[in-house]
């Protein structure tokens, strides 16, 4: 048994969907004990999100849920009931970190006000994740990842200037907020080890994006320039995926030395024409240059270009990989990155593994994602010592 970095850290998890569950997954995967509170009958709505294993019968728990809820125990309980409230209050007394991602004000409506929690447990760290934070004019705005990219400032500098701005696929904003929430939770927890007083932490998903848009705001504040999206090539190779024979590479070059290395890598005679050897020349002949470069890339293979760039020419090219490529990738295989999990999951299905490696206290999946209410008895009877006659919740049918 490995030792765990967050051994003995107790987490009470009121989260659902993505941002909060990724936060508590990080805590759990590095050793914390996580109790996930789920509402009766339906549980975390993420249980019902795709992808599913298409070859198996429905209903089944979604794979995204199974990824996000490893190393957690599920307590199915109704926070609107007095019984439920009493139970979580007892749990809160024996908790280090409470994480929630309800809409602002909802936790209060369950009677779990800041004052109440502070009274129950002065050392408690309370982490609240929400769309736009617990204060401010957008506090109650509705949103999903698309809206976070727009109002976070990342979308405007994403895409082509001759088209609408775009965003990353999937739910990146929510994962970022979940990661930041986990870091902030540990900072505040670390403080309680010495000074012994808890904190309330306010995480805004919008701000997780806005904190990490490099100089989008700073270029205005320092030089009056408002940056925009990708403009036409204009004589330089864009640092953006370019089509090759069997996919895409990202040709990354810095300055003239790198340009000659790229010409060399492409083995294209015409690119050595003196009119293309200087930045000014390439700019003057931009259109001709672009056509030549694109056709030179199109006849090359992606592996040949990527390995050719890195192995012999110290160019930091990128290789665009999809899931199929990643499963075969020698570095990911070396790291043993992808993981199969137990718990009613096909042996074909593989999950992303450790995001980073801690040598003495490694990432570890101790338990797969729980069924809804799987740990009711363990938590209610054994942990907080309720009588066995706690009211039966409405039947849990998770379809597992």
């Amino acid at each position: 048994m490995n030792s765990k970095a967050l051994k003995d850290v107790k987490v009470l998890d009121f989260t659902h969907y993505v941002s909060g569950p990724y936060c508590t997954k990080l805590l759990g995967d590095y050793g914390a004990d996580v109790i996930k509170i789920e509402r009766p009958t339906t549980g975390d709505p993420c249980r019902h999100l795709p992808p599913f294993e298409e070859a198996r019968q429905s209903p089944q728990t979604g794979l995204l849920f199974k990824y996000l809820n490893t190393n957690k125990k599920s307590l199915e309980i109704d926070l609107k009931s007095e019984f439920g409230r009493n139970a979580v209050e007892q749990l809160a007394m024996d908790t280090d970190i409470l994480v929630e991602n309800f809409r602002p004000g909802v936790l209060n409506s369950f009677g779990l006000t800041k004052e109440k929690l502070r009274h129950l447990n002065p050392n408690l760290v309370v982490v609240s994740i929400s769309n736009f934070g617990q204060t401010g004019p957008y506090r109650d705005f509705k949103a999903n990842d698309l809206i976070f990219y727009a109002l976070g400032g990342l979308m405007y500098i994403f895409g082509s200037t001759d088209k609408a701005p775009i965003k990353h696929a999937l739910r990146q904003a929510q994962f970022k907020a979940g990661t930041n929430a986990a870091s902030a939770a540990l900072m505040a927890y670390y403080k309680t080890l010495t000074s012994g007083s808890g904190e309330e932490i306010d995480i805004s998903i919008q701000e997780s994006i806005s904190a990490s848009v490099r100089d989008a705001t700073t270029s205005y504040a320092t030089s009056g320039v408002v940056r925009t999206r990708q403009s036409p090539m204009n004589g330089e190779i864009p640092r953006t995926p370019i089509e090759v024979r069997d996919g895409y590479v990202v040709p990354i070059t810095f300055g003239s030395t790198d340009w000659s290395k790229t010409a060399d890598l492409l083995e294209c005679e015409e690119l050595y024409n003196p009119k293309f050897t200087t930045p000014e020349g390439r700019r003057e002949n931009a259109q001709e240059f672009e056509e030549l470069v694109r056709s030179a890339f199109r006849v090359k293979g992606k592996q040949e270009l990527f390995y050719g760039a890195h192995s012999h020419r110290e160019l930091v090219y990128g290789l665009v990989q999809d899931a199929a490529d990643l499963l075969e990738n020698p570095q990911y295989q070396h790291d043993g990155y992808f993981q199969k999990l137990e718990g009613n999951i096909s042996s074909e299905t593989q999950f992303p593994g450790r995001p980073f490696h801690l040598s003495k206290t490694p990432w570890e999946i101790r338990t797969s994602a729980p069924k809804l209410g799987q740990h009711n008895d363990e938590i209610l009877i054994k942990k907080i010592k309720l009588s066995t006659e706690y009211p039966a919740d409405t039947g849990s049918n998770d379809g597992q």
Binding site: K142, A184, L358
Partner: protein, 449 residues
């Protein structure tokens, strides 16, 4: 810099460049850790060499480098040439009185200077060392240098991102560096907590590419379970329609709208074009997904009549998920962020002649405020003397010797790259959205600084 924050008492030494480590240590410095940023005059951080305050290239231009300054506030600066053995010994001494050593150069560089964990733990048994690399600290791709555009491609994220039928797309920032840095902060905090309970240090390996892959489980799972390769669909959502970015009144103004329920759809359509409510092409989310393109075009015709911020307020007032696409200036002046004091007002070293400026703040707010109290980013070599003499007890004579050997310095002997195209011209040709020559007074009055 010990601003009595949560992490005061923790000393971090970083041998770093660009963002992947500097942003992580910035977040920790903001919370009170004392971070010492190593630099080299021979191999300066690329961020010291481009993009300067007011585009001024004269004098010590490197102290006015905006991306360096953005990533390195609240840090101390030590400029030391590690290929000088005496200087390298000073670094070992510094590590012996530090808690964390953080590096985002390739493993080759760490090895060359004897900065691997196995060596450093002999100097400081409970040291925590983090190596953040593009693809991994060991293994077949570990020697490959990387910047964000490369790791983003490798991670799997780019393959699923982009306009429908177009190539993979990436934003105009090194995106994975931030994802990796955010995970690095978490990893360091976990290691610091473990050390505070057990006295044991350790080695942390961060692969920037794998960090991002950990945030795209849907793609990995749908492929391994079902052999489905996720396609690029722009701003569309596989299960929701309408879900997109639509043009508004004005130059390059846009609004995003995501109708996450039938109720939101009804509110949207009642505002924009009540006449199509009964059209069977759009009467359910399923039919709207089938007729997505036609619907998006109809919505675009309507949104073009609106100001994007006004339309956002009205739609949100009716319970519809909508957000204006904010450019950098609009983000900086956004009322919501302003009321939340999101931007931190950061001073600069007096000789740089840069006034206090607003920079993006922390991605969290603690109940006991840690806003304000920002210290300037270090000028190049600014704390050489403080660290070498006061922290490490170097004599005046030895300090002078290091100076004579060129192993410590306060300036960079590289001429700044000339700016070929002026801001005005760039705005005219469209490679930037706009240039405002009055930005200084605009900033000053808005933030009251």
């Amino acid at each position: 810099m010990g601003n009595n924050g949560i992490l005061s008492g923790i000393r971090v030494v970083e041998l770093s460049q660009l963002i992947a480590i500097p942003y992580a240590t910035k977040l920790m410095s903001d919370m009170g850790a004392e971070t010492i940023r190593l630099e080299s005059a021979k191999r300066p951080d690329a961020y010291r060499l481009s993009d300067f305050y007011d585009e001024r290239l004269d004098g010590d231009y490197w102290n006015r480098a905006i991306n360096f300054n953005e990533q390195n506030r609240n840090k101390l600066g030590l400029a030391l040439e590690l290929d000088n053995n005496n200087a390298l010994d000073q670094l070992y001494d510094l590590i012996s009185i530090s808690d964390v050593f953080a590096c985002n150069f390739t493993p080759r560089v760490m090895k060359k200077f004897g900065l691997e964990y196995d060596n450093l733990k002999k100097i400081k048994p409970d040291i925590i060392v983090v190596s953040s690399t593009g693809y991994g600290h060991s293994g077949p791709w570990s020697s490959f240098g990387a910047i964000g555009f490369g790791t983003e491609a490798a991670s799997g994220l780019s393959s699923a991102t982009g306009y429908e039928d177009g190539p993979p797309a990436q934003p105009e920032i090194p995106y994975p560096d931030y994802t990796a840095a955010e995970h690095t902060v978490f990893a360091l905090m976990a290691a610091i907590i473990h050390r505070s309970k057990t006295g044991e240090g350790q080695f942390i390996e961060v692969s920037q590419s794998e960090c991002v892959t950990s945030t795209i489980p849907e793609i990995i799972l749908d492929y391994t379970a079902n052999k489905n390769v996720t396609k690029r669909i722009g701003n569309s959502h596989p299960e929701i329609s309408p879900h997109g970015c639509y043009p508004c009144k004005g130059r390059d103004k846009w609004i995003t709208i995501a109708t996450q329920s039938e109720k939101e759809w009804n509110s949207l359509v009642n505002l924009l074009f009540p006449e199509i409510v009964t059209n069977t092409k759009f009467d359910s989310n399923e039919s709207r997904i089938v007729n997505r393109k036609e619907l998006d075009e109809l919505i675009s015709i309507k949104t073009m009549e609106w100001d994007n911020l006004e339309l956002m307020e009205i739609l949100q007032g009716r319970g519809v998920s909508a957000g204006a696409v904010l450019n950098g200036k609009e983000l900086l002046f956004n009322q919501h962020l302003f009321e939340r004091n999101f931007f931190e007002i950061v001073p600069h070293q007096p000789q740089s002649q840069i006034p206090k400026l607003p920079y993006p703040g922390k991605p969290w707010k603690m109940s006991k405020p840690t806003q304000g109290n920002m210290k300037p980013p270090p000028s190049f070599g600014q704390h050489n003397e403080t660290i070498l003499k006061n922290y490490l007890g170097l004599s005046n004579k030895s300090y002078q010797e290091l100076q004579d050997q060129g192993a410590i310095s306060e300036k960079i002997d590289i001429v700044a790259k000339e700016i070929i195209v002026s801001r005005e011209e760039r705005a005219k040709e469209g490679s930037v959205y706009s240039y405002d020559p009055n930005f200084k007074s605009t900033i000053k009055s808005y933030f009251d600084i």
